[in-house]
């Protein structure tokens, strides 16, 4: 029976698979990226911007006073905040201005929505994570995106079951 759990260090940094592909990770370059931003960083910033909007949507819904299940929404928002913190940890440190990677810069802040609206947002997030998983070159970031996407799929399940 295989119940040996890999350590966080093993999974994130020292896994055989991650080590094997480490040599091909990194910047592949692209004419339409700022030269100092790798495609992985651009994708990471997009995921962070998307997560920030999800947190803002939950906050708007909770603040509206119309949330059908405030306890559940607070729990799910907390998950997103945890994801955000780990995603931000992976950003490279910069001295100057941070590159903008929002998919919709200048968009108005998310408005309060009902349970079905939150579920749609979570479904979109989980689908994006699956797409991003196949696009990044960094294997450890791929693992993180796979895990975050699985949690978001769990959110969809919980929102589908929640009773108003």
């Amino acid at each position: 029976m295989r119940h040996q759990a890999p350590s966080r260090r093993t999974v994130l940094a020292g896994g055989a698979l991650a080590a094997a592909v480490f040599g091909v990770s990194g910047c592949r370059g692209s004419d339409w990226y700022p030269s100092e931003v790798t495609p992985d960083e651009y994708l990471l910033r997009s995921a962070i911007a998307e997560k920030e909007r999800l947190v803002a949507r939950y906050t708007a819904t909770l603040d509206s006073g119309t949330a059908e299940d405030p306890a559940l929404y607070e729990e799910l928002r907390g998950h997103h905040e945890r994801h955000l913190a780990v995603l931000r940890e992976r950003l490279p440190e910069r001295d100057g201005a941070e590159p903008q990677a929002s998919a919709s810069p200048g968009a108005p802040p998310p408005a309060a929505v009902d349970r079905a609206g939150l579920r749609v947002a979570e479904e979109a997030a989980a689908a994006n994570r699956l797409r991003q998983l196949g696009e990044v070159t960094d294997p450890a970031l791929a693992q993180l995106l796979a895990s975050v996407g699985a949690c978001e799929a769990g959110h969809v399940h919980l929102l589908s079951e929640a009773q108003p």
Partner: protein, 151 residues
């Protein structure tokens, strides 16, 4: 945008194959374990266990085929598995959740594969195992697949 990462070295391919084999071994254990649990658990959870058993069988076959496609030898199931002595409902539920955690960790390892097809497989399988934990009445982990569901 970033292009599709391809396994270009033997070392990468070997690592991906090893991760596939680990995932298949986890699925063999899950199929065996759910068969054990379904035969002993109460009627209210038997259908759920049988449903999960079928899903694990499907992933087992998918992984088997993926290994054959890579001209690798798929590992068979083991002769014996560690099974719970306590077959009360709650103990069997915990046992099933443990099977899901083991497969989740194997798929997380596979998600590091340089092959985008294998990553997609791993991502979808990790989602499914997370949803099965919820169906069993377990809590949603913040980081499914990582040890303890945490980082």
């Amino acid at each position: 945008m970033t292009g599709t990462p391809d396994p270009t070295t033997t070392e990468e391919a070997d690592a991906a194959t090893a991760a596939l084999r680990d995932a298949l071994l986890a699925e063999h254990a899950a199929v065996h374990g759910y068969g054990f649990a379904a035969a002993r658990i109460g009627a209210e959870l038997r259908d759920l266990c049988l449903s999960h058993l079928e899903e694990h069988r499907a992933w087992r076959d998918t992984l088997h085929d993926a290994l054959v496609a890579r001209e690798a030898v798929p590992p068979g199931g083991e002769d014996a598995y560690q099974l719970p002595a306590d077959t009360a409902g709650e103990a069997l539920r915990d046992f099933a959740a443990g099977l899901e955690e083991t497969t989740a960790q194997a798929y997380l390892e596979l998600a590091a594969a340089p092959d985008s097809g294998l990553r997609d497989l791993a991502g979808r399988a990790l989602r499914e195992t997370t949803l099965r934990v919820l169906a069993l009445g377990g809590r949603l982990s913040v980081f499914p697949g990582f040890p303890g569901g945490e980082l």
